[in-house]
């Protein structure tokens, strides 16, 4: 991954770096009911552009379900609005077209297609029939940029199936970038990555997070401490704490959920926080 100077891009900051002026995602009273089992109850989240928000919590806390509900994969009640447009009740592809993109726990790129083809498809949801029926010619500037920023430029013509695990996740993030998503919901992007890959992923998120709203579901507490600008803690489907990393770690309810060890600093993070399904 190439080092890109961060001065060009505004750094992510807690509470966002541009205020309410631009894009934001507002979740109010989100409840997801699976046949009587409430996976998520009354969740409120407010995310501004430039915030690198981490969503943490023990297994089964409902983190992924929140993302599923926002992206239309499961139906929920309450309200999810992006810059004033209600998303709840819309279909998955309609929500995606509104600029909400997501990745999955297991990288799901199109393995038979090349990196370039993957990105080209991600960039093309708004294409006309005529454009679709023609051959791809040349590389869109947005795709070049995404190849650079994710460090995959040299691999552009390789089938995505041969990429290393970390590269697949970067490709997924690149696809979100060319998709023109300004709300990025990343479900465990560093799971299964080596230490170096985590570093690079974190730096990548830093680079892209300044101009977008990024939500990261994560179990890796070191990774969270290193890169989060704000944190929301979920437990049993409810938000139990929200704030900066330090605030959340100092919160007694969070300590209780994490068996009193999360506040202890870098050491003593229970194993269960590091690995999950």
């Amino acid at each position: 991954m190439s080092a890109v100077d961060t001065e060009v891009h505004p750094e992510p900051a807690a509470g966002g770096n541009v205020g309410m002026g631009t894009q934001y995602l507002e979740v109010r009273g989100l409840t997801v009911d699976f046949d009587g089992f409430k996976a998520v109850t009354d969740v409120d989240l407010t995310l501004f552009q430039g915030d690198l928000r981490f969503l943490i919590g023990p297994n089964g806390a409902g983190k992924t379900t929140v993302i599923d509900a926002i992206t239309g994969l499961v139906s929920g009640t309450g309200s999810v609005s992006k810059s004033g447009v209600e998303l709840l009740g819309k279909k998955v592809h309609q929500i995606a077209r509104r600029g909400v993109g997501r990745t999955f726990q297991t990288a799901s790129v199109f393995e038979q297609l090349t990196v370039l083809q993957n990105l080209d498809i991600a960039a093309g949801a708004g294409r006309s029939v005529l454009t679709l029926l023609r051959r791809r010619s040349g590389v869109l500037p947005a795709i070049e940029e995404a190849l650079e920023i994710t460090g995959l430029a040299d691999l552009a013509d390789k089938p995505a199936g041969v990429l290393a695990h970390g590269q697949k996740q970067w490709l997924e993030i690149g696809m979100l970038l060319v998709q023109n998503a300004d709300v990025l919901l990343l479900d465990e992007p560093v799971a299964g990555m080596s230490h170096e890959e985590r570093e690079e992923t974190g730096n990548l998120l830093r680079r892209i997070g300044g101009e977008r709203t990024v939500v990261v579901v994560e179990h890796d507490m070191d990774f969270m401490r290193a890169f989060a600008t704000s944190v929301t803690v979920l437990a049993r489907g409810q938000v139990i704490a929200e704030g900066s990393v330090a605030e959340v770690q100092a919160n007694p309810r969070v300590q209780e959920v994490y068996l009193g060890t999360a506040a202890a600093g870098t050491e003593g993070v229970p194993d269960e926080l590091k690995e999950e399904s």
Partner: protein
């Protein structure tokens, strides 16, 4: 430069195809064999569509007999009406025998050649579009879609058998003329062959353009990760419907050519068995490739004709065995085998080395949205 060579190769490929179909085949084949070959070309046209829908789109179309039959019956009705008109009869011969004196209402539009040709295109594609939207929007896929399309073929065959006004289980037979040309004349038979050959080249060209376009890439993406495509802002149903409709169109045109070439169209060309037979050639040839389905369909049909003349019952078993072996061990078909051998020859001097795993064109289980 690379693209230029690619383009040159394409034209060369089409040129060779044209020389074989328009020059070589009529020169070396007897009139009888050429007629058979024309029939095989009809199957090949169906196969091109199946290759697109199944190989590239992952839709196991087990009921292409429906569209083949629709095209064939529409053409057949027109041919019967014009044959009757030549002898100043109001109704075709088989209706006279049945004592019918007036042409049924739904036959009447097909007295017009223009309406017939338009209907061959519009009716099957319209049905495929309606069906496709209904099915794909509801996210019916995989085996459920295959069973549904097969049930449709069975239903249409049963419906046709019960309709005496389209000849019941005999179907429509004994065509004498084709748009005014006598079908007894070998020259006109050759003309029909040339039409089939031209349509085949055209359908291959259309399929090639679709496969190489952005749409083709998208179709493969839908095949391999339908849910993932949704999260990129596409509705996969629309993408699948296009491939399904194109496959239906090819099948319908093939059916419409089959009727005059072979001289009949019957429920036996519509039901489950012929629908599966269409698939066998595609699977053996290599369903994800452009030419695999064409060569596979022609090869299987040719082998069937040659071998079933000598070993009528054994051939059925051989065909079934071939199908099982190919689907089980060479999912990419003979085309995949070619790639496999070429790769071995090129990059692997050591014959003991593990075989290169073939790219598996099977749609992988949905990775995205596992809890959907």
């Amino acid at each position: 430069m690379k693209q230029l060579i690619g383009r040159w190769q394409t034209w060369a490929g089409f040129g060779v195809g044209a020389i074989v179909l328009f020059g070589l085949a009529p020169a070396i084949l007897s009139d009888f064999r050429l007629g058979l070959f024309a029939k095989f070309l009809c199957f090949a046209i169906v196969a091109v569509g199946i290759g697109l829908a199944w190989g590239r789109g992952g839709m196991l179309v087990l009921g292409q007999g429906v569209f083949f039959g629709l095209g064939g019956y529409i053409m057949g009705m027109h041919l019967k009406i014009s044959d009757a008109a030549l002898t100043d009869q109001d109704v075709p011969d088989f209706m006279q025998i049945a004592g019918v004196r007036e042409l049924p209402g739904y036959w009447q539009p097909f007295a017009s050649p223009v309406v017939t040709l338009v209907a061959i295109v519009v009716i099957p594609t319209g049905i495929a579009a309606l069906l496709g939207f209904g099915v794909f929007k509801r996210r019916v896929k995989g085996a459920y879609f295959a069973i549904l399309s097969q049930a449709l073929a069975a239903a249409l065959a049963i419906l046709l058998i019960g309709q005496t006004s389209v000849g019941g289980s005999n179907g429509l037979t004994n065509f004498r003329t084709f748009f005014g040309f006598s079908l007894k004349d070998p020259v006109n038979k050759q003309m029909l062959y040339f039409i089939a050959a031209g349509v085949l080249l055209l359908s291959v060209a259309v399929a090639r353009q679709l496969m190489q376009s952005r749409y083709g890439e998208l179709l493969v993406a839908v095949r391999d990760g339908e849910e993932r495509v949704r999260f990129l802002g596409y509705d996969p149903a629309n993408i699948k419907v296009v491939a399904y409709v194109v496959a239906a169109l090819f099948a319908s045109i093939a059916g419409a050519l089959f009727a005059p070439i072979v001289g009949f169209i019957a429920p036996s060309q519509v039901g489950i068995l012929p629908s599966i037979a269409f698939l066998i050639g595609v699977a053996i040839g290599g369903r994800t490739t452009l030419l695999g389905p064409v060569l596979g369909a022609i090869g299987v049909a040719w082998a069937q004709t040659l071998l079933s003349e000598r070993f009528p019952s054994e051939w059925t078993y051989a065909q079934g065995l071939l199908f099982i072996v190919v689907v089980g061990f060479f999912p990419a078909g003979l085309a995949g085998l070619g790639v496999f051998l070429r790769r071995r020859r090129k990059g692997r001097p050591d014959p003991q080395a593990d075989p290169v795993p073939l790219p598996d064109p099977d749609p992988e289980p949905e990775k995205a949205g596992a809890n959907a």
